[in-house]
Structures are given as C-alpha cells and as structure tokens.
C-alpha cells in the first residue's frame, strides 16, 4: 500500500522582502514591515513529504537516517542561521518570500533517491503556512 511519510524539520534564518525593480515607496507598500532594510528573522518549520510502498524487509518508505542526512545537507546546512537574501544564491535574484522558499526547497530535495518527493510545506510562523507539490507534468517552475 502506498504511504506518504512526513518529517518536520526547523531552521532559523533572516530575510528581507525587497524588489529592486520597484520604487522605495512601492516596496514599502507591497512588503510593509518585511521591507525593513535591516531584515528580520523567523523560525521556519519545513514539512517534507515523501511517498512509496514500504520495503517489506524494513517496513519503511525511506530510512529516516537517509532522509534526515539528505535534508541536513541540501537544506538545513545551507539555510540555518543564514541571511537568505545574501547567502542562498537564488535569493540574490529572487525575493525570498516563503512561496519562493517552498519552490527552492522542493527543487533541492526532488533528487532524494529513496522515495518520491510529494510535497514541501513551510510554516513561516505558527499562523501562516505554504505548500508546494511541484508542477503538473510538462510545465516548468
């Protein structure tokens, strides 16, 4: 029977929402206090969902040791206690909203070899969350 397995991880990072193509006033209007030039931070919670049929020998969809190691290397080492705008190459070009963070984490974890990546869900705070499950076949991110 196909099973979805979800593991929750957390990291803390700072960011600033700012689009250089917009005027100062426009940035202020669109991003509000998230546009503060000094940045601000969150304790992000990332839910990673993978799926597959449990291996009869282990009863597992994927070894948690492997999944934890993969997420640690691909995401947590790169994002935890970082300033996302400067220290994650993509966000030098793109506004590090949690929407874009979802897509970037999905892109980084898609190559997990042991099971199929189903979904990335990120809680930016306890009150808001974002989900990304990839694009329909044939389209691009």
């Amino acid at each position: 029977m196909n099973i979805h397995l979800t593991r929750r991880y957390s990291f803390s990072a700072s960011h600033r929402l700012h689009n250089p193509a917009l005027s100062e006033a426009e940035n202020n209007r669109v991003y509000g206090k998230c546009n503060n030039p000094y940045g601000h931070g969150h304790n992000y919670v990332v839910e990673v969902t993978v799926s597959g049929v449990p291996d009869p020998a282990t009863g597992m969809v994927a070894s948690l040791v492997n999944l934890d190691g993969f997420v640690q290397r691909e995401v947590l080492d790169a994002f935890d206690h970082r300033y996302l705008n400067e220290e994650v190459p993509l966000f030098r070009e793109r506004v590090p909203t949690t929407e874009n963070l979802c897509v970037e984490i999905y892109r980084r974890l898609r190559a997990f070899p042991a099971a199929r990546l189903e979904r990335i869900r990120i809680e930016e705070t306890g009150l808001n969350s974002f989900e990304y499950s990839g694009e329909p076949l044939g389209s691009t991110i």
Partner: protein, 152 residues
C-alpha cells in the same frame, strides 16, 4: 463532498527487528529502534471520512458511531500493548508507522458504513507522521491476499 476527521490517541511499545538480518545489520538499519526491550510512543491517529451530509441529520456520519468503531478496532487492540507481540494483524511485519497505518486502514475501511474512508494519518511523534489513502485504484480494503503480500 465534505471531509470529517476524528482524532484519538493510544500509547504502545514496539521494536524494529528483522530476523532475516544479522544482529549487526539490524543495528545498522534500525539503530536504537532495535533495542530488544522495545520502546514506546504516544501515537496520535487522525481518521478522515469523506461524504455528503445526510439531509435528514446534517451529518456525513454519526461521530458517536465512528468513536465506537475507533474504540473497538484501534484502542482496544493497540492501546498499552506491545505491538510486535500483541497485535496479530502486525505479526510478521516490522511495526513501523507505515505498516501500522496500513493495518489501521484495513481494519477501518470495511467498518465505515456511511461515507468513505479518505485518509488515515498516524503521528508517531509530533515531527513524524504518515498518511495512508488506501490502494490507488480504490480496490477496497486491501484485505485480499495480494495486499497482504506487499506489506510482509
């Protein structure tokens, strides 16, 4: 269509051990979950049923009936039990969250008289849970011999 979810908790112990593996391999694959004395969790189970509210009652199904099914099929069977030795449905399987959720699906699916079982979500800890949606083609409870084989 509406989804209706009921949550219950049960506490149980288990250990991961595959007799086909050597002791070293068991320790390597299962880590501290291979401790022969077992260990336990407070499992949280969310059962979601999909259906259309009955115009006469406004309900997808009677939650009292669902509560009784969960008491009989899950709590009475699994609460304060050592899953490896005391739950026959798990005999011969490693009692991972994945396998327990599949067993719970098979136990509940034929008992839901109104609506249709949509999802079984089982939390082993707040940071680890699995979702089971049954067989992809909706091939019933999966209680047939084919389904048994895939999970053993």
């Amino acid at each position: 269509m509406l989804l209706i979810t009921r949550k219950i908790e049960f506490s149980a112990s288990h250990l991961y051990h595959n007799p086909a593996f050597s002791p070293e391999e068991n320790r390597r694959v299962f880590g501290k979950c291979n401790n022969p004395h077992g260990h336990g969790h407070n499992y949280v189970l969310e059962v979601t049923v999909a259906g259309t509210p009955d115009p006469a009652t406004g309900m997808v199904l009677d939650l009292k009936e669902l509560k009784e099914i969960l008491q009989r099929e899950i709590i009475d069977r699994m609460d304060h039990r050592f899953l490896n030795y005391e739950v026959p449905e798990l005999a011969g399987q490693i009692p991972t969250c994945e396998n327990i959720a599949a067993v719970i699906w098979r136990l509940l699916e034929p008992r839901i008289s109104k609506g249709k079982l949509h999802r079984v979500r089982l939390y082993e800890t707040p940071d680890l849970f699995v979702d089971c949606y049954g067989e992809p083609n909706g091939a019933g409870s999966g209680a047939g011999p084919g389904a048994e084989k895939t999970s053993r």
